[in-house]
Symmetry: C2
Subunit: 443 residues, 2 copies
């Protein structure tokens, strides 16, 4: 019997330890994966890839015990040596290797030059080779930024008194009531993959007042565009006791401010690698749907073709116009027409053709849909019937309304889409680790 | 155009504000949902349910402007009044109501007495009525504890240099290679729901060295037991550059210590409500599979029927024996037989009939499976072939090995199972917000 007592100090050092503790001149041990090798005759620059960045190591004939034949791109090594300040190296230091221990070897040459600063391959090739292409420093930085976003989302909401929930992804009915839902064989029963945690998060409002979930959602949309994928990470929250749906927008603005601050403070390395300019979420304009539509038609001399929805070009132009007017890359568009919003959306009591709802546009694209929900049981039943839905199919959901729900609302944010726009990528697949679309199911 | 600038100070107060700022005697505004009502003649005790707990309010005829007919269990209200110290009330204060504003009304009487301290209904009834039964104070506390576990898991791993990843749940092949996998119609292609993020998290090792994921996994197991559900939350991590699989157990022990500390400090309210005694994860014994099996056979006079796997009774007895020997509620069982571990498990070089793997037992039940993985491409191909698997079906996965992977390993922890045992529940459904099993697809 052994006793396991927790994480023990490691014999190897990380980049941040060398920098913070200034371990220059001291003997150190460091592990990493060979990222690139540059042979210079009597010595070789062997750059190691570590989770915190790159480390230049120097292997010198006569000084380093090693066999050059053992080193390949992809070899995992543990090096003993000495760190020295070196302005021209990444992070301002290099490691002079005294000896090297081989931990593992690749079986073949890299299919692409992951050690280059930018991959020149097409998106399709990068996706086909995901387990390799993500080893590129810029590619992997994308998903560190994505981590910062979801981490900031959660941390901010914890601070605001939200409770994290986990709701089922195998469901008996599609939340949005429509098509676009994946069907499943579930022990001879009919089942679907959840398009959204909508009905579940509403059910949890009378339990915790404020809830959030970060999890996958599934949309069986057949079209393939640069801004759609069929499985994505949705960041959802729902909050009770709201005075108006503006409370939801205010919470989102606060969350975005928190995320941008977290990114600038804790993800500065990746922000620099990708050359990102973080947007200011301090003052986000909010404009009515009908007003924005009219303004864009006048300002850009367009004809309004569909008064009930925004065309992608209109979203772009609203963003452009409000960027010019206010400097904000974000703009809330409010009061969407009732006929384009789902059955749970609350109509505006002042004009029932509109709803107390909003989208958040960011750099020309919708990244959030949200709004106030119906909390009154009879009102919800009536709206379902108007839409030809059978309330009996929503018994569990309506149980929440029947036994009392405070006024509430919430939103859903597409993590990959927000990442894409934040990093000025033009295809959502660039910001999805392993994307799923009508043509792609692997890797 | 309005400007949205972030979260504004609310006009209403929360329980913690009253306690921290000692707002006794001051006029306050507070919202909440009517949890219970006790009529006393000239006055009524109206207990409000808020996210932080219960608040006793006092409605007095002549002093409070209200119509008693407006108040029901489930009514959402906003009360103006004064907080007064009152030792007999929850949190040591009550609110004398001056006036009340009705925010929403239920449409029917509660089907069960959610205001009682303990629900007396059967598990089946509680699950059927989940949107209502979770409003019970003890029921909802379960999922706050669950939040603390997953939050602690993530925060600890962030501190340890792990990167959070999100891998697809719709996959082309089952990770564990076996049956028990849900089939899906995916645009006329054959697809499955992921049983585990195993292959994906391994692919990410050469990218970030250390990764974790918290997300749903799906197992189409046909049997219905108290410790199985068909969709659950898996907390997975994978770490590179390990010296041995003990590094993984040490990381798990550290994580558990962190979680218990977080629960005791930040979830003290729920710990108290549920009367939980948090286990000590400071010293976890680790014992070989074959040794533990033999010990239990001798100590409890049992015959070993299957030398390759642990029966549920054996898991219970190993836990019991090591609780007696060491005082620990946790015990690592190491070196599982190779034939019971998946194709990616690394065999023990000293005896290839065993693997460098482990389970963590907690109070008699397995809550974690983990171990070192094969990192060498040729070794992995060979093991697949031995098992009759076709390496060509795992091309993306093997791409990681082919182009270099450091020695690595990891584990998966079932969130609901850990919650169940921590809270001494005897059915995993008690610790699952909306469970899915062979009979249950709703709510």
């Amino acid at each position: 019997m052994k006793m396991i007592t927790g994480v023990q100090p490691s014999g190897t050092v990380e980049i941040s330890q060398i920098l913070e503790q200034e371990l220059y001149g001291c003997p150190i041990k460091m592990n990493g994966t060979v990222h690139t090798i540059r042979d210079m005759g009597e010595f070789s620059f062997v750059v190691l890839r570590k989770r915190e960045g790159l480390v230049q190591t120097v292997f010198t004939k006569g000084e380093t015990e090693f066999d050059r034949k053992d080193l390949h791109e992809g070899t995992a090594v543990e090096i003993e040596g000495t760190a020295q300040r070196e302005d021209r190296a990444p992070n301002g230091f290099e490691v002079r290797a005294a000896s090297v221990r081989i931990l593992s070897q690749p079986a073949a040459q890299m299919p692409i030059a992951v050690g280059k600063w930018k991959l020149k391959e097409t998106l399709e090739t990068k996706l086909d080779l995901r387990p390799v292409s993500l080893r590129n420093i810029r590619e992997r930085a994308i998903f560190r930024i994505q981590e910062g976003i979801i981490r900031g989302f959660r941390d901010f909401l914890f601070q605001q008194g939200f409770t994290e929930i986990h709701t089922p992804k195998i469901v008996a009915a599609g939340a949005e009531g429509g098509s676009n839902v994946f069907k499943l064989e579930y022990f001879k029963k009919k089942a679907f993959l959840a398009q959204s945690p909508q009905t579940y998060k509403q059910m949890m409002i009378p339990v915790y007042d404020r809830v959030f979930e970060t999890g996958p959602v599934f949309r069986a949309e057949k079209h393939s565009t640069k801004r759609h994928i069929n499985e994505y990470m949705s960041m959802d929250f729902e909050m009770g006791f709201i005075d108006s749906f503006e409370d939801i927008m205010a919470m989102e603005a606060g969350m975005l401010q928190y995320v941008m601050k977290l990114l600038s403070e804790c993800y500065a390395r990746e922000i620099k690698i990708l050359g990102v300019t973080l947007p200011d979420a301090g003052n986000i304009p909010a404009v009515r749907f009908d007003v924005a539509k009219q303004e864009v038609a006048e300002h850009y001399h367009r004809t309004i073709r569909n008064p009930y929805d925004l065309e992608p070009e209109e979203e772009e132009l609203i963003s452009k116009l409000y960027k010019e007017k206010t400097g904000s890359e974000f703009v809330f568009v409010t009061h969407y027409p009732s006929k384009k919003r789902p059955f749970y959306a609350m109509d505006d009591p002042e004009d029932k053709t509109f709803t107390l709802s909003f989208d958040l546009l960011f750099k020309g694209i919708e990244i959030t849909t949200g709004g106030q929900r119906i909390h009154d049981y009879h009102e919800q039943i009536e709206k379902m019937k108007e839409r030809g839905m059978d309330p009996a199919e929503f018994e569990s959901y309506l149980m929440a309304h029947k036994h009392g729900m405070p006024p509430h609302g919430g939103l859903g944010i597409g993590l990959e889409r927000l990442t894409m726009k934040l990093l000025d990528k033009d295809n959502i697949r660039e910001a999805t680790m392993f994307p799923r679309d009508i043509n792609r199911l692997e890797p």
